[in-house]
Symmetry: C2
Subunit: 204 residues, 2 copies
DNA sequence: CAATGTGAACAGCTTCACAGCC
DNA sequence: GGCTGTGAAGCTGTTCACATTG
């Protein structure tokens, strides 16, 4: 395929494909056609073919996509072929839930540090991590962690984001219901549960 | 404005506008221009004007949008002008975090029931709700609840979704990392935290 | 023959430019 | 003068149709 800018929407679908291919692999299915995959994911077959073709020709005509190697290709495209360490800020109920979320491992994510500002939580253990004082976020610099998950109250979110960016964090998954002001080089994804729920009544 | 199909993307932004207008109201600001609002939300002014104009002419030329009445208009468009009762299924760590999430009230959501399948949790109180047995989901029929938040493990999600739909639920916010098969009349929104995180390394 | 890969047509959303109004 | 409301232009992403290949 000649040069094309890869649509953001395509990138957003890639983890979906990775999950699907990973599951197929555990089921020992060796190949899958765009048709079959589309049925599973409720997408259109040409969509899947076009998405994958942006990154190369992974499939075999007449056969479909080889499950195992395509999974590896996507993993490598998304840079998930190396274990990605992430820091969690906020050890409240939501933070604790996330720390124990089993779904991260499929994508190679590893919660490598946890911070909070509450003295009752600092020093406690969550999973394999000791909760550290949020004032020590700057020590992340030396630990080569680039991703952060922000699970703090909205009024603390911007301050934590600033500290994280100061400590070399390059990507933030923000779970607070607020907009974060960050330099352009930092990528932020905000998930606002109440806002997502907010559109449901309109549709029903 | 003549008839136009309202873009889904516009609907998705409406709760964002509602939140912004609600906050402005607490700050006693009486009007706001699309320019000012765009700066806050990091959008383009014409985007905001077009979005709002799909639903009517709320603004005043030369002045901007009246904060209070526009907030009410959006609330009414999104059907959030009446308190929306929702049921939470899953009283694990994530479910508990969600039950105590303070952000729902701004949109008029009220967690009116909680279900789980774990005998250790059934009968306990979370917030103002007693945790009920998931086998009793069918009793929702009589309670006039139309929205559900699904915070159960992926392998239980489809079963719970089926039971919820059976009990008259019309919209589901699915927090499990899986696709739900539902009739077309039911609206599902899936939030998959690991998948959202999965795109970050690509961008950094 | 079955299924991919892809240019081209199409659809949907965003941005622009400006007319209209306060 | 300032700002909304909106048709039209522009752009991005999706779908189609089919040539291509194992």
């Amino acid at each position: 395929m000649k040069y094309h800018k890869i649509p953001d929407e395509t990138i957003k679908r890639m983890p979906m494909y990775l999950r699907a291919f990973s599951i197929l692999k555990t089921q020992n299915q060796e190949t899958i056609s765009s048709q079959q995959l589309a049925e599973r994911l409720h997408l259109n077959p040409p969509q899947i073919r076009k998405d994958l073709s942006y990154f190369g020709a992974f499939g075999t005509r007449g056969i479909g996509y080889p499950v195992s190697s395509t999974a590896e290709q996507i993993r490598s495209i998304l840079k998930l072929d190396v274990s990605q360490q992430a820091v969690l800020v906020g050890a409240g109920r939501l933070g604790t839930a996330i720390a124990s979320y089993p779904g991260f491992s499929m994508f190679g994510f590893d919660i490598a540090a946890i911070f909070d500002n509450d003295n009752n939580k600092i020093g406690k253990t969550i999973g394999k991590n000791l909760v550290e004082n949020v004032a020590e976020i700057v020590t992340l610099k030396a630990r080569n962690i680039r991703l952060a998950i922000l699970a703090v109250p909205a009024n603390a979110a911007q301050g934590c984001a600033d500290a994280l960016i100061d400590a070399g964090i390059k990507g933030i998954l923000n779970l607070s219901p607020c907009y974060l002001n960050v330099p352009k080089r930092v990528k932020v994804i905000t998930i606002d549960i109440a806002m997502e729920l907010g559109i449901l009544p309109y549709y029903i």
